[in-house]
Amino acid sequence: MTTAEAPVQRPRGRSRITAFTNSWASQIGITVAFVALWAAFIIGAPTTFLSDRIYLAFAQTTPYFAIVALFLTMVIIAGDIDLSFISIMSLSLVGFVFTWQATGSVELGVIACIASGALCGLFNGLIVTIIGIPSLVVTIGTQFLFAGLALVLVNGKSYPLVDTTSSVSYGLLAGKIGTIPIQFFWLIALAVFAWVLLNRHRLGQNAYVVGDNPQAAQLMGIPIKRTRITLFVLVGMASALAALMNAFSLTNFYPNLGSGYLLQGLAAVFVGGTSVFGGRGTIYGTFLGAFMIGAIEAGIIAVGLSGYYTGAVYGAVILAAVSIHAVLQRRFE
């Protein structure tokens, strides 16, 4: 502990490799799983998975839940969870529709939508931290609350968004760059942003500590409540953005638009190796996890299985990936 030995020269070579494997075990695991699944699809359906069309489809559909999953990863690392993001998607779009219809400006509508998402996240965060209820319970409640509010506010109606297609915002959120859907570039940019926030910013440092050891966080003076609230707000904003992309590309808003994404978003995070107990997780893992989850449905059809297999294969992939993480973790740490 306090010996007087001079600093020793650390041996290079093998031990360096071991150290590398130890600290990257999780990332290596998810990469192997990702490549294995991909290889399985290529072998099973070479014509589909060796052409670019399927990847262009993934590039558009995966970001809808992957963007939320990036920030959900940070919430889960901090020891919380947010099950309400699918309803934030709906409610924030109500903010868009109302503002757009009232002002005639799509851009103002976009701002209102993101702000509504942030407010929903703030609401979650405040209830979790100030009243002190576990986020699992709170966000089950707000999942119903936000979805219910969305339904009530628009009276259950859907709104065509065809008139938005000429706007700048539409091009930015649902257009294409060349042949590649712009959603994919948003996903890449936000993944980089989330990675920097998590690994190179105070917020991420604090999120890891809060999730790993809340008591230590308190003793070391980390602003626990502020950290948790900020992360919920980020998920809210990401949900709103993803919802806008989704609604724009469908040119339609319907109040239960987000409902399909709950399990996909959560699965992406956990397949990516993030611990449900907090303190552990990576953006890289969630990014690959999202594409694994996003590819399964199309992959099953392409391989020639009936769509009925989808659920079973989802389950198998999720369990396999999570098991790999558990085994690697025990082996290397």
Binding site: T2, E5, P11, A19, Y208, N213, A216, G221, I222
Partner: protein, 306 residues
């Protein structure tokens, strides 16, 4: 051990211990004997239970105060008030003679209070460097971390101060794999890396081997030698007695007595502790009355007991 032996073992020595290399020299270097910390009439309740009642405590520069008391005596609460985790309901806190209000952990750390906590306060799944800089990362104005700098500092501290020589350990190693002694070393180095003026050790010998405990006690001696102050909390009276200048005995949320260790033998102290445990107070026992001209804060450099 005899009083002479103890006195000689406490001769102020230069900080040869490399851990103390991490100690910055006292920035403002106040004169010896200045009250580094003073609590006046501090009370604290949790949910109607009075955990601390009218507690006053002084800590001089270069002094090591041992805090003894049974479970529930209020030791941990007292520590958490000094470190800003809890705010007192009543009473005043002075640092270097200046009253401080609105204490929180950040404020306490800015005032030079560093704590080695009983729970170790480490995040298991995070690498060493994130633990060293927990709650106080090196960051730019927008909050972006200077990771390279923190990794380098950690690597230096590992070699020089923690004596971590295993090739497997790098600044990126997770804390999970460390031994009890290594974890305690990490917690201590973390406390000292940031210009500590008052080091608080909360049950630091818990879970340590004999050899590690010896090193720890030696380290506490080093804190004194470097002119810093320390509060040492331990269940084990032998450990507390061997390194403290003064022992403060807490019982059921009150200060039951204060004893300059050079004036009491270990046997006498244990006698008093038994009495306090039985009666809840130390009642001017006949046998020790002649010693009760104290307590006064001592300078703690060891002269007064030679």
């Amino acid at each position: 051990m005899s009083a002479d032996e103890r006195a000689s073992s406490r001769q102020p020595t230069l900080p040869t211990d490399p851990v103390l290399a991490a100690l910055e020299p006292a920035a403002s270097a106040p004169a010896q004997g200045v009250k580094r910390l003073e609590l006046r009439h501090v009370s604290k309740s949790f949910g109607g239970v009075r955990v601390l009642q009218d507690v006053s405590l002084e800590l001089a520069t270069g002094e090591v105060v041992g805090l003894l008391g049974d479970n529930g005596a209020g030791k941990s609460t007292l520590i958490k008030i000094i470190t800003g985790v809890h705010q007192p309901d009543e009473g005043e806190i002075y640092f270097g003679g200046q009253r401080v209000t609105g204490m929180d952990v950040q404020r306490a750390r800015a005032l030079g209070v560093e704590t080695v906590f009983q729970e170790r306060a480490l995040a298991d799944q995070l690498p060493l460097w994130r633990n060293i800089f927990m709650g106080r990362p090196v960051a730019g104005p927008l909050g972006f971390l200077k990771v390279g700098e923190m990794r380098r500092s950690t690597e230096e501290l590992m070699g020089e101060s923690m004596g971590f020589t295993s090739a497997i350990l790098t600044p990126n190693t997770n804390v999970k794999g460390l031994s009890g002694g290594e974890r305690q070393g990490l917690a201590i180095v973390r406390a000292l890396h940031f210009r500590a003026e008052i080091v608080i050790l909360d049950e630091p010998t818990m879970g340590l081997s004999l050899k590690e405990t010896e090193k720890l006690l030696h380290f506490v001696e080093g804190i004194r030698a470097a002119g810093k102050s320390a509060i040492f909390i331990d269940h084990n009276i032998f450990h507390v007695y061997s390194v403290s200048d003064r022992i403060v005995l807490l019982d059921r949320g009150r200060v039951a007595g204060q004893f300059v260790t050079s004036r009491y033998s270990l046997a006498e102290l244990m006698d008093i502790m038994r009495e306090v445990a039985a009666t809840g107070a130390y009642t001017e026992n006949e046998r020790y009355r002649n010693k009760e001209e104290l307590p006064q804060p001592t300078t703690g450099t060891g002269e007064e007991r030679s």
